[in-house]
Amino acid sequence: MSAIGDTAAESGPSGLRANLRSLYQCTNDFDFTRLFKRGLVIALLVSVISIVSLFTRGLNLGIDFKGGSVWEVPVSEVSVDDARGVMEGLSLGDAKIQLAVNADGTKILRVQSDVDEVDASREVTQALADLAAIPPSEVAVTTVGPSWGNEITRQAQRALIYFFIAITLYISFRLEWKMAVGALVSMVHDLLLSVGVYSILQIEVTPATLISFLTILGYSLYDTIVVFDRALENSARTVAKTPYRVIMNRTLNQTLMRSVNTTVATILPIISLLVFGALLLGAQTLEEFGLALLVGLTSGAYSSLFVAAPIVSMLKEREPKFAYTGEPAVTVATAATGGAPPRPARRGTPRRPATPAAPVGAIPPRPRKSKKRK
């Protein structure tokens, strides 16, 4: 196994570069267990902040939820004040009026008001079309009745509950019920965090946002399942009594690069949606999707590592085989490193050295058949 010694020597120089190199070379050996507690506390804190904000500030609901109308008028010379004048003339002085400029120089006047009847909204359409000197058919209008919001909220809640139930059953069936608990808690965390960001920043919530929230859950779940599947594989392979956090730590190291790369590969198109689609080209829907997805993806990557994994570790360590006895936990970079020298825990956790789960040494890795086969 001299090859491995070589690599270890190569990655000798410490620092960021070495860490990145170890990631690329699959020799990374971070100690995640030390961060478990902190990770959970942060997640809890963020969730509490989100809940508090939800109850105090609430959500900035779009017209689809509370009823009202939005007009989008392509304009050339019209100013916000002109539009304000028109709206005041219709005794709708409290309308929200914005002027957006597209990349190609065309301007869109966006007017939002609480008119929730089709007839009344038609009047406004006509007035705005007159103002911009265009036919009314060029004006994009959305009018939502007052009770429609309850309906879609109800639909979303129902979809969410069914989704949670189905996923819990599915994971319990394909993996383990303890993992279902971990996945569920981490999904709730992602949901809370995303909604919390929308509440704290008072960004408007639209049906597109709802879709994004549900997608986020899907992504977060995908991440979590990949980790759990590997943990299951690793624990099945572990013969000796081993604290579960050790197994989990090994799993997290093994799946870290996948998580990172997947997140990068997924976030790239979404950032492109946000930056090019929404900001430069001014497509409203794209922006609505993109922002929630960006927040959710980041949160999903975090929760797989620091919410789902610690919870499953805690649950599994109640089983005698995986119990944590307080004896030095152990990290292993990769399952078959054999005689590789135990590396010191790397950067990333230097701040609080007194965590009880300090990593030392290496668990005896189960020899792989491959060696014989070769």
Binding site: D64, P136, Y222
Partner: protein
């Protein structure tokens, strides 16, 4: 290269390219949703609980008929649970479409007891029996003959307008022959609140006379001097108005209990009279006691100016608005030999015919969300989505090839093939099932790039790890794939569960999103098995790549131990 694995790969590539070529040859292309090409979308929901599922289906059929009659290219009228979604891509006259879709009102025929001026006008003609036509409608009847002279008769009668009657805009309608009316249906506006009660609006009970004052008028009137819509009950005497195009009341009518409803009609058509100049409307009643008999009964009363119909006028009321009150000029009609003439143009005549034919829906539907997208804004969104998607795709390609080298190229090839398949599928579904690609769907597609790449990453990371642990790239491909694929299946199924639930439980854009997400996930599974696996196997067997881990993005390990 005829080795295990090459066959499925060749099959997959040939299949994809073949279907793609076929799609182009047949000329299939994705149907754009109305948010991308402009148009009108209306979400309707029943007002109150629906007892019978069939009535909703019936309502959907009626709406579909109305829309078809309007000549919309690819209308999409679907029932999703209790919600009816009407999408009219590319509709130009959006207001008109909205009116027709929204018109879920109840059509009633009521005898006119008295004609009153609008509130605010000095009541110059408040005599109980306004004779000689109020000008709103003059009806001449040529009962069984569709008579060439009918139109002239009606027009001639115009001269008989009562002096003093404020006829502002009223001479618009001269009704020759039989029942009905004129006035663009637009004046009836969209259905908002129609009284609850019997769905068809029929009077089955007894009149509640306690609501009438000493002067014979209803006690409770609104600011316009009319019976409020919610009090417009079938059996009672009500005071309703006829409105002009701006929605102002021009004439008020005191109306007796409902004599019959739109149910009695079996159809209506608009056409030119024999001179080929004047537009008229021909309603057809059903035969028998629930059709023409009922109509003739009330026609006889009106013709003889009985106390139940002293004015000899029969009002046609749609959604609490009087559309017209033609004078009945005979007591016996043939059910299919009736025509309404007046100052129609083609559009108003056709609109009236539509309202008569499909006026009454079996259930009242209230518009919950109406959306009008202009074609220009739609195009802008489509372009923005496409550009953003392509840039995002480019970034992902750069990342994958930069990180995984040759394996990254395989991933990109697989992504391209998957995209081609999705294109084929949505084009096909668009042509055959009317599936429209909305902005939400486009977003779903962009999001699915991530899912597709994910499968590759799971597999490649597994490979790298195994190589890191001392295996040769070549020896470990099958093994890594097997173990990664179970993971991918588990995760993809979770995604699918989400997509299916979203699709089933939601309405509108969310469904489009979920559908495309689901489609891409399934195609991704197929591509992973039929393309990525054999392609990577082939790379592994290539003699030139042996021991060239760098080109494969593998860790730098000489695995010859």
């Amino acid at each position: 290269m005829r080795r295990k694995g090459a066959l499925p790969l060749i099959f997959f590539v040939v299949f994809t390219l073949g279907t793609l070529t076929w799609t182009f040859l047949v000329g299939n292309s994705p149907v754009l949703g109305l948010d991308l090409q402009g148009g009108v979308s209306v979400v309707l929901q029943p007002n109150g609980p629906v007892e019978n599922e069939d009535t909703l289906d019936q309502a959907v059929d009626i709406i579909r008929n109305r829309i078809d009659a309007l000549g919309v290219a690819e209308p999409d009228i679907t029932r999703q649970g209790e919600t009816v979604l009407v999408q009219l891509p590319g509709v130009e006259n959006q207001d008109r479409a909205l009116e027709l879709v929204g018109q879920t009102a109840v059509l009633r025929f009521r005898p006119v007891l008295q004609v009153l001026p609008p509130v605010g006008d000095t009541p110059t003609t408040s005599a109980p029996t306004t004779t000689a036509g109020d000008g709103a409608t003059t009806t001449t009847v040529a009962p069984t003959t569709t008579a060439a002279g009918a139109g002239e008769q009606g027009l001639a009668d115009l001269g008989g307008l009562t002096p003093g009657e404020n006829a502002a805009g009223l001479q618009a309608t001269t009704t020759t022959v039989a029942p009905s009316t004129t006035a663009a249906p637009g004046t009836a506006s969209t259905a908002t609140t129609v009284p609850a009660g019997t769905a068809a609006g029929e009077c089955t009970g007894v009149e509640d006379t306690t609501r009438l004052g000493d002067d014979g008028l209803p006690v409770r009137l609104n600011a316009e001097g009319l019976t409020p819509r919610r009090r417009d009950e079938a059996c009672n005497t009500v005071l309703l108005g006829e409105r002009d195009e701006d929605g102002n009341v021009v004439t008020r009518y005191l109306l007796g209990p409902t004599a019959l409803t739109g149910d009695a009609l079996s159809g209506a058509s608009a056409g030119l009279d024999q001179s080929g100049v004047t537009w008229l409307v021909r309603p057809t009643f059903k035969s028998g006691e629930n059709g023409i008999d009922k109509f003739n009964a009330v026609a006889a009363e009106c013709f003889s100016a009985a106390t139940t119909c002293p004015t000899t006028q029969l009002a046609i009321v749609l959604d609490s608005d009087v559309i017209s009150a033609p004078r009945i000029q005979t007591d016996n009609f043939e059910r299919d030999q009736i025509q309404i003439t007046g100052d129609f143009d083609e559009s108003s005549a056709k609109d009236l015919a539509l309202v008569l034919e499909y006026g009454a829906l079996p259930v009242e539907l209230v518009p919950q969300q109406t959306q009008t997208v202009s074609a220009t804004l739609g195009e802008d969104s489509l372009r923005a989505g496409l550009i953003a998607g392509l840039i995002g795709l480019g970034l992902t390609v750069i990342f994958m090839v930069g990180y995984y080298r040759l394996l990254g190229v395989v991933a990109v090839a697989s992504l391209t093939l998957e995209f081609a398949l999705v294109w084929v599928l949505i084009s096909y579904l668009g042509e055959s099932r009317g599936l429209a690609l909305t902005l939400a769907g486009v977003t779903g597609l962009i999001v699915s790039i991530g899912i597709s790449v994910d499968s590759n990453v799971v597999f490649y990371e597994h490979l790298k790890e195994d190589v890191r642990n001392g295996r040769t790239f070549r020896s470990t491909v099958e093994r890594s794939f097997g173990s990664s694929f179970t993971t991918i299946i588990k995760a993809d199924i979770a995604s699918l569960i989400g997509a299916v639930l979203l699709y089933l439980l939601s309405v509108g854009p969310v469904r489009g999103f979920a559908l495309l997400l689901g489609i891409s996930t399934v195609i991704d599974l197929i591509a992973t098995w039929f393309f990525i696996r054999p392609a990577v196997l082939m790379l592994a067997r290539s003699p030139r790549l042996r021991n060239n881990n760098a080109a494969l993005g593998m860790p730098n390990v000489k695995a010859t131990a």
